[in-house]
């Protein structure tokens, strides 16, 4: 959920944590996402694929259905902009190191690694990882702050 508190650039320090969000994505949520992208009755969800079929996922060497990459990217972007509503996501650069499985908890968060008052922006390292184990995704974001506090 988006934070309702105002965060100004002057409040941010290098090392601050972008509030972690724990998510667990279901097949229904994946279906809604594909329909938002491709419209109802998306062939992506009508034919068996690694996104909607346990059997197909297993044929591809996966233990079960996975979350589509563009949905993971949207979830990461949401975590970044929820942290300080009003911030603009200027850059998102993510590498998916492993597939992310449906029905399993994962945590997405960031750490502020740089702050540029002239540009009114911060740089953030991004992490998306299971509650235990190796990270699924690593990345970087640049978040721009409005010149005055809003919302």
């Amino acid at each position: 959920m988006a934070s309702t508190r105002t965060i100004r650039l002057e409040d941010v320090e290098i090392g601050d944590t972008i509030t972690p969000q724990v998510r667990c994505i279901s097949l229904d949520e994946v279906t809604v996402f594909w329909e938002a992208i491709h419209g109802p009755g998306s062939p992506m969800m009508e034919r068996p694929s690694r996104f909607n079929s346990v059997e197909q996922a297993k044929k591809e060497g996966l233990p079960g259905p996975v979350i589509p990459g563009p949905m993971i990217i949207a979830i990461i972007a949401k975590a970044m902009t929820d942290w300080a509503p009003g911030v603009q996501l200027k850059l998102l650069d993510v590498i998916l190191r492993q597939v992310v499985h449906q029905g399993a908890d994962f945590k997405v968060y960031g750490i502020v690694t740089d702050k540029n008052e002239g540009e009114q922006q911060v740089e953030v390292d991004i992490y998306l990882e299971p509650t235990e184990g190796q990270p699924y995704v690593r990345g970087r974001a640049v978040l721009g702050f409005p010149s005055k506090a809003v919302l």
Binding site: V32, E60, I75, P146
Partner: protein, 150 residues
């Protein structure tokens, strides 16, 4: 490290810019995308909150642009490697907010095809660049996206 291995694909696709059809952004599409991702940020769901922040209306979440990118026709480079393809990486530069009524046109091209070898064998990456323009000819976003074949 990139490797100088021979990759079988249609090299005529490399560097050829392809223009997609213009997509008109509607409030309904933005709200459907926001709902699908679980967005509660009022900039993406509430006109009044967005106006207070200086926008003319609600705006699209930043990765909404992937909805438009995915509607852009890409020529098939016919990469003959492996049996599976996975989304590997995206670098998304968001330059201007996208709002209802915008007509977004995309121009996409295959920038690179390269191979890497790791423990699980050789993987082939295809890298696409897509620029998205609004009805004023302004670049609203630039995406670079890699897909891995293995």
């Amino acid at each position: 490290m990139n490797e100088n291995v021979s990759i079988d694909f249609d090299r005529t696709v490399l560097g050829r810019a392809v223009e997609g059809e213009s997509v008109v952004v509607t409030r309904e599409k933005i709200l459907a995308f926001a709902r699908a991702v679980g967005e509660t940020n009022p900039l993406y769901t509430d006109d009044d909150a967005a106006r207070r922040a200086g926008y003319p209306s609600l705006i699209a979440p930043p990765t909404f642009i992937n909805f438009i990118r995915r509607n852009a026709a890409r020529p098939d480079p016919k990469i003959k490697h492996g049996t599976l393809t996975f989304f590997a990486n995206q670098t998304l530069e968001c330059r201007l907010p996208v709002k209802p009524g915008d007509a977004i046109r995309s121009v996409t091209s295959l920038e690179d095809v390269y191979a890497k070898t790791g423990r699980s064998g050789t993987m082939v990456f295809e890298v696409w660049k897509t620029e998205m323009f609004n009805q004023h000819g302004q670049v609203v976003a630039v995406s670079r996206e890699s897909t891995v074949h293995r």
